[in-house]
């Protein structure tokens, strides 16, 4: 049930393309490189396991990225463009990538 259609974000793509898979085409269980923008950051307060969860998206889709053991990664903020390499697996509604390597772009 899509009550809101997502805004088109094509205009964001200004950096030169790298050999990345469109997020919409990511499959689970295989190493993959994606290139997108941080759309959401989940800030866990000082309790429990330190985690940083962000949602990265391009014009084909979104997936969730979780960095375990960290609360904050300087440079990974809402709106920054980032390239990630890791293995995706299915989490309840999103694909999720745990502890990928990242490059700020």
């Amino acid at each position: 049930m899509a009550i809101f259609r997502r805004r088109p974000r094509a205009a964001e793509w200004t950096a030169p393309p790298i050999a990345a898979t469109p997020i919409g085409a990511v499959v689970t269980g295989q190493p993959v490189t994606i290139d997108g923008r941080v759309r959401r950051v989940k800030v866990q307060p000082r309790a429990g396991v330190p985690t940083l969860e962000v949602v990265v998206g391009d014009e084909t889709g979104e997936l969730s990225v979780v960095f375990l053991g960290r609360r904050r990664i300087t440079g990974i903020d809402v709106g920054t463009r980032v390239a990630l390499t890791g293995v995706a697996h299915a989490a309840d509604r999103h694909l999720r990538v745990l502890n990928p390597t990242y490059t700020l772009r």
């Binding site: 809101f4 805004r7 307060p45 309790a47």
Partner: protein
């Protein structure tokens, strides 16, 4: 000094900010002003405790009707003068008598109405009861337009009386009239119902002065001491450029245009009987037995009006007053001058009496219009706000609506009675016709003792009212009556449209409401706290959120400014609120409300989630403080309003409610 002492003194300012146990709920400035101006709010229990005896009731209800005698003669004369010149005076009394015959039958008819509808009389109720809702709208709207006109006409005529007395006020006629309307409206908002004396003095003063005028007039008439006021008129010098003095005998004028003129004059005289319905609207205000007392009051009113009207017309034929284009000096003031022999004390008293009763007549409309409008609104034909009783238990919105519309009318016509009169009386006679016909039908269906007599009386009343209505509508059509003829159907159509809207809303709201209330609830409840930055206003919302036990809860920040987002991110990690994570959402187009709506929509997408959004809202102490800030929180509420199962809770933060501890001047806030 010990350590504990120091702590205690340090803690003092915070203790003042902490939870206070005495409830301190200050009234707003607006309310305090209102209470000062209008007096303390009346409690609902105080409604309708005062019952009126006959003398007071006559004063309260009949000022509208009796005051008509102050201008009815003049309006008949004005039309006759223009058409038939010198013969005006010979036709004045016959036309007056014809009008009094109409009055007589109307009084008879209303005696029936009072008896049959002692609780809620009035044309609207009678028509609704016997013909249904739609005809009742016609009767009601017609009456409402006439209540507006009653205010305009009475105030304009009252101002004319004042200007006749003090001619130097003439340039300020419109201003004085509007001021009168404002004063009467203010008095009604305050609730003048309590003070029967306020009504009694001017009404009886006017009646007394009128009777004195007639007595002196007829005494002088019998002794031959009454002379024409403007002797020149008898020799063919005419005001208002009439050229009819070539016609020889009075009978000729009954032909052609003459007959039309007579009917037109009669129609103008119809203004005299407006206000007859006032008593039937207010039977419940009488002392027990209500209907009997109301009938007596109606008789007194009819006799008084008839006597004054006829007497003034007879005196006019002897004194030959002149109608003026400017409206002043008025005919009644000229008669007063002729009878009392110049501008003396008695003349002044008559003018003041006229002024007072006319202002009171306007006041009668202020009682009737709001009540009638509330009937309409109660039947879903007018905005519901009109049913609301205000601060002083009066229908404040109706009073304001009446004041505004009558003031507009007064300004538009330059407060000239003769320009208002053509609009007048159509509405009243429309409602007379409908309510009398309704009464006739009532007798036929109910067949109470004496129903045959009732049918005859109300039948005659209905036919006569309809006849007068037709005459008024035709003869005054081109003079301005067309406005009302067009306006009433348009307004009725509008009310019907309004009613359809109300009915469909009600139908939708009531459709299976009980089933909806007991339907299974959503499986999941998500609470989102809209956070702009970590301030006290957001803190209130977070604190409130922590008292809730939803399935999922998080704060949401729409990141318009990356610096603000980063600061918030850092501060949030230091907070240590284990239950409330923060989600920072990119907001590249800077529409915070849209970003939040998307976040909510995403939660709603599974169709078994109820979402609550907590929106911190700053409450400003002064109206102008609002100008210093944008109203993002309001826009958030609007953006979420269309989503099913999205709920918004406003968490208020009262600015100026905290007393800050003294701040060291050297350091500054981190943002």
């Amino acid at each position: 000094m010990t350590a504990t002492d120091t702590n205690a003194t340090d803690a003092t300012p915070f203790a003042m900010n902490g939870p206070k146990h005495s409830v301190d709920l200050p009234e707003t400035l607006g309310y305090r002003v209102k209470s000062r101006v209008l007096g303390p709010a009346l409690s609902t229990e105080q409604l309708e405790h005062e019952r009126l005896g006959i003398p007071t009731a006559v004063a309260v209800f009949s000022s509208d009707c009796i005051s008509s005698s102050a201008y009815a003669t003049e309006e008949i004369l004005r039309v006759l003068f223009q058409a038939i010149g010198v013969f005006a005076f010979s036709l004045l009394v016959p036309i007056t008598v014809a009008m009094i015959v109409v009055l007589f039958f109307l009084i008879l008819s209303y005696r029936e109405t009072i008896k049959e509808y002692p609780t809620a009389g009035g044309a609207y109720m009678v028509t609704r009861d016997n013909f249904g809702l739609l005809p009742a709208q016609v009767a009601g709207v017609a009456l409402l337009t006439d209540y507006i006109l009653t205010v305009s006409v009475s105030v304009a005529a009252g101002t004319a009386a004042l200007v006749s007395l003090v001619p130097s006020l003439e340039p300020y006629t419109v201003v004085i009239s509007v001021a009168f309307i404002a004063i009467i409206a203010a008095g009604n908002l305050k609730g003048v119902k309590e003070s029967g004396l306020v009504f009694a003095i001017p009404t009886y003063f006017f009646i007394g002065m009128g009777v004195l005028l007639l007595a002196v007039g007829f005494w002088k008439l019998a002794g031959g001491g009454l002379h024409h006021l403007h002797p020149g008129l008898d020799h063919g010098i005419w005001p208002e450029g009439s050229s009819k003095h070539g016609i020889g005998k009075a009978d000729i004028v009954f032909y052609g245009a003459g007959l039309y003129a007579v009917l037109h004059a009669f129609a103008s005289g119809g203004a005299a009987v407006t206000g007859v319905e006032a008593i039937s609207n207010g039977v419940t205000a009488f002392r027990r037995p209500e209907w009997k007392n109301a009938r007596v009051a109606l008789n007194i009113m009819g006799v008084t009006l008839g006597t004054l009207f006829l007497g003034l017309s007879i005196l006019a034929t002897k004194i030959h007053p002149v109608t003026f284009e400017s409206g002043t000096p008025t005919v009644i003031s000229q008669i007063g001058q002729g009878v009392f022999g110049g501008k003396n004390f008695l003349y002044g008293a008559l003018q003041i009496g006229t002024l007072l009763i006319l202002v009171l007549a306007a006041n009668t409309s202020f009682a009737d219009f709001p009540r009638l409008a509330s009937f309409h609104a109660g039947d879903n034909f007018m905005p519901k706000q009109l049913t609301k009783r205000g601060h002083r238990l009066v229908f404040s919105n109706g009073i304001i609506a009446l004041a505004v519309s009558s003031a507009i009318l007064v300004v538009a016509t330059g407060a000239k009675v003769d320009r208002l009169i053509p609009l007048y009386a159509i509405g009243v006679f429309t409602s007379f016709t409908l309510s009398q016909a309704g009464m006739a039908k009532h007798h036929r269906t109910k067949r109470e003792p004496g129903w045959r007599r009732g049918i005859v009386i109300n039948g005659i009343g209905a036919v006569l009212s309809f006849l007068v209505l037709t005459i008024v509508a035709i003869t005054k059509f081109t003079h301005g009556a067309w406005v009302i003829v067009v306006l009433v159907p348009v307004l009725v159509a509008l009310l019907v449209r309004l009613n359809r809207q109300y009915e469909s809303e009600a139908a939708e709201l009531e459709h299976e409401a009980r089933a909806a209330a007991t339907a299974p609830v959503m499986r999941r409840h998500v609470v989102l706290v809209a956070v702009d930055k970590l301030d006290n206003s957001a803190a209130r919302a977070i604190q409130y959120a922590r008292t809730l036990v939803p399935d999922e809860m998080r704060a949401v920040h729409a990141a318009v400014d990356p610096v603000v987002a980063r600061t918030l991110h850092d501060e949030w990690t230091r907070l240590g609120l284990s239950r409330v994570p923060l989600e920072i959402v990119d907001c590249p187009d800077r529409r915070v409300q849209r970003t939040l709506a998307e976040a909510v929509a995403e939660e709603l997408a599974d169709a078994h989630t109820e979402v609550t959004v907590l929106v911190p809202q700053r409450q400003y102490r002064r109206a102008w403080h609002h100008l210093l800030h944008d109203s993002t929180s309001k826009r958030i509420v609007e953006a979420l309003a269309g989503l099913p199962h999205a709920n918004v809770t406003i968490v208020p933060y009262q600015l100026g409610s905290r007393r800050l501890p003294p701040r060291p001047t050297a350091t500054h806030g981190s943002h």
